[in-house]
Symmetry: C2
Subunit: 307 residues, 2 copies
């Protein structure tokens, strides 16, 4: 079990649960170095850059919070399992930033991977991360001593959340919606795919790895989905109201790209209300589940973050 020192009270400037995040960061470093043995120096550097640049690690923390809330130990294999969702997230960022996609040159306050290493290396770097994530889940399933069908379920969840029915599907819908009017329900489908699917998968995977039965995952899944939608709503709002320096990436890009966002569909005020309501609904789910300190910190962070 975690000690109290593993987490801090809400609202750390650097993001939620900094002690647990440091464990995630250490595991990510170890995993990346293991994987890079066969690559040339420059390719290895690109993978490091994509995965290890400073981040809030929201998705692995969601997995670990849900794992603990479902009675699991935050053991090293659990932390490795949590890293799998961060790898998928990191790959999506590298590809999203490409010149032919959102064409972002700044991410987390640093030049994006394609700016540093070129477009071709960036595409391949992103492509290397999904197989890494799959290997991690298979390995963590073994190290956690999970029964057969649970490892398969973890892989199934990660794959569904990453693919055409999840993240990639949301991004494809996003492309199709650019530069034309979009209704609120279409916006929700886009955001559910491109952002909420992986967050929902993270909490479900954490609970599944702790032995929680399938039919008892509905509420934690809804928590993850609502939190994901709130996260994306705040992201959209910050793109309008935030400063580049504060965001660590260029502001105002959504509008330049004609993206369907909460502010473009609902207006800024209604978007802020929607974000608060989604976060409150997520908090209700969390309370009904008996609460968890890490998950509570993440909810707080999502509502209050400025980047």
């Amino acid at each position: 079990m975690e000690t109290a020192a593993e987490t801090t009270t809400e609202g750390s400037a650097a993001g939620p649960a900094p002690d647990l995040r440091r464990r995630v960061d250490r595991a990510l470093t170890r995993i990346v170095e293991e994987e890079l043995a066969g690559l040339s120096g420059r390719s290895a550097e690109a993978v490091r850059d994509a995965v290890l640049s400073p981040g809030k690690r929201i998705r692995p923390l969601l997995l670990l919070g849900a794992h603990r809330a479902a009675g699991g130990d935050v053991s090293e294999p659990a932390v490795e399992l949590a890293c799998s969702v961060e790898l998928v997230h990191a790959y999506s960022l590298v590809h999203d930033d490409l010149p032919c996609m959102d064409d972002d040159v700044l991410r987390r306050g640093r030049p994006t991977v394609h700016v540093r290493f070129g477009v071709r290396t960036a595409i391949l770097t992103g492509a290397a991360l999904m197989p890494m994530a799959v290997r991690l889940v298979a390995r963590a399933g073994e190290a956690l001593g999970l029964p057969d069908e649970r490892t398969r379920l973890l892989l199934h969840r990660l794959a569904v959340a990453s693919g055409g029915a999840g993240m990639v599907g949301g991004q494809l819908l996003d492309l199709r919606a650019e530069g034309r009017p979009v209704h609120a329900d279409e916006l929700q489908r886009i955001h559910r795919g491109k952002t909420a699917a992986l967050m929902e998968a993270a909490v479900r995977m954490g609970a599944t790895a702790a032995g929680r039965e399938e039919d008892r995952l509905r509420r934690i899944g809804r928590f993850g989905r609502r939190l994901g939608l709130a996260f994306q709503a705040v992201d959209d709002i910050l793109d309008v109201t935030g400063e580049t320096e504060e965001l660590g990436k260029a502001g105002g890009r959504d509008r330049e790209l004609g993206k369907a966002t909460y502010p473009s569909v609902l207006g800024l005020e209604a978007s802020e209300r929607a974000a608060r309501e989604l976060a409150a609904a997520a908090r209700d789910d969390l309370e009904a589940l008996g609460g968890d300190r890490v998950l509570e910190e993440i909810v707080q962070f999502v509502v209050r973050r400025r980047r």
Copy 2:
């Protein structure tokens, strides 16, 4: 078990084992349609185009041949498992053809995915296929009734062959080698990663799914690796000697791109010798394993193919 009608004698113009290939094609169609439920019409069309455009299905046939050679039935779950390696291959083709990569506009005699659907959709289409492959393996493992550690092993193999230690790693080495002199051993490392790794994984996965023990996979693995290197050598040679119409893609691209190839490193004559020797060595491995009609047809095809 397969009947004799499932395979034909060697050297069919369309590729080896046409009857078995039709089963693979039917399974691919079913799998793609299942996956596409949530996508918009145009995105779904891009995925169909990427996966279902006519191909020789060498990799799934390798998996099924090795599966049968190891005593497995070519059941529908085995065919689905075989489709997983084709999905990974299809994704690699879509990304390889991108303007920022090899910039190919023709593939299998048809416009490439990015030409038809745009670069952004092509990147996302490719990205959707890896998670599909992972889901297939997890599902096939269950349907085949494999013990716990075997499904994990199948996923591990697919992930390793697809990632930084396999296909993507080979492509990264390939990029680094462009436009400069390359030694034969470096060329071998590149080709082993970008081509042979997935073929080796295919035969190992087939044998693993048939219950073949880990320590008895060395020779079938070497067969797959040697065949993969022979395949790539022939591919390099055809890029020099083939006509665009015959190849179904533009010839002479390797030279334009300054790629490290067998002909550029060894010269054409020595490359043809190397291809023959690699295929002969693969055939020796196959004989020592007791032979298999499908695998034998694939070897014949690799040596004699003109596209």
